[in-house]
Amino acid sequence: KIMKVNILFFGQLTDVTGTTTLVLENISDTKSLAATLQLAYPGLDAKKYIIAVNSNQVTENTLLTDNCTVALLPPFSGG
C-alpha cells in the first residue's frame, strides 16, 4: 500500500513553493520530508519555519502515518 502525506504551506513559504498544498508518497518521517522539500524548492533553505504533524508542532524527527497532514509554518504574525 502506498502511504500518502498531505503537505500544507503557509504565509511567505507559498512565495517559494507557488502552492499551498502538495501530496507526497512514501515519505517515512519529517526529516526525509524536509530533505525532499528542500530539493524540490531550494528557496525553502533561506526560510524559517516550524513543522506541525496533524496540527501538533514537532521538534524531533517524527514518523509519519498514512494520510497524515504535515504543515510548514513560517513565523506567525496574527493580531
Partner: protein, 147 residues
C-alpha cells in the same frame, strides 16, 4: 464534558464597531460583572521604504489555530476568575484603519479582566498560526512578522 467544544474565532473581513457595541450590550444581564477589558487590533498604514500599507491580508492554518486558542482559553480560565471571554480575528484583506482583532474579557473585579485580556493578546500573537501580508499602495507586499 469530556468532549472539547472548540469555538470559532475567525471572521471573514473586518470586525465592525457595531459588532463590538452589540457584544458589549449583551453583557448587561450578567450583573456579577464589575469590569470589562477590551483590546482591539487596528490595521496601521505604516510607511516602509516609501510605500504605504493599504491593507493586511490575513490567512491562517485554521484548524490548528482553533485548537491552540482552545488551550489558551482553558489556561486563561484556569488562571483568572473570569465571567467570560470572547476572541475574534479577521481573515482576508482588512483595510488600514479597520479592526482585525477583538479580545474581550469580563470579570467581577477589574484586575482579572485586565490581566487576562493582555495575556490573551500576547499568547495569541505568539502562538496562533496566523499570517499577515502587508499590501502596499504600489501593488507590492511584504509578510508581516510579530516582534
Amino acid at each position: 464534558m469530556t468532549e472539547k467544544k472548540i469555538k470559532n474565532i475567525f471572521v471573514n473581513g473586518l470586525i465592525t464597531a457595531s459588532f463590538i457595541g452589540d457584544s458589549i450590550q449583551k453583557h448587561n444581564s450578567k450583573t456579577e460583572i464589575g469590569g470589562h477589558s477590551i483590546f482591539l487590533g487596528q490595521v496601521r498604514a505604516d510607511t516602509i521604504d516609501g510605500k504605504k500599507v493599504t491593507a493586511i491580508e490575513y490567512t491562517s492554518f485554521e484548524e490548528m489555530a482553533l485548537e491552540k486558542m482552545h488551550l489558551i482559553r482553558e489556561a486563561i480560565f484556569e488562571k483568572y476568575p473570569l465571567t467570560c471571554m470572547h476572541v475574534y480575528h479577521s481573515l482576508g484583506s482588512i483595510a488600514a484603519g479597520e479592526i482585525c482583532l477583538f479580545v474581550f474579557t469580563s470579570a467581577p473585579h477589574r484586575k482579572a479582566a485586565i490581566d487576562a485580556c493582555e495575556e490573551i493578546v500576547e499568547r495569541l500573537k505568539a502562538e496562533l498560526p496566523i499570517w499577515g501580508k502587508e499590501l502596499f499602495d504600489n501593488e507590492t507586499y511584504q509578510w508581516k512578522e510579530n516582534k
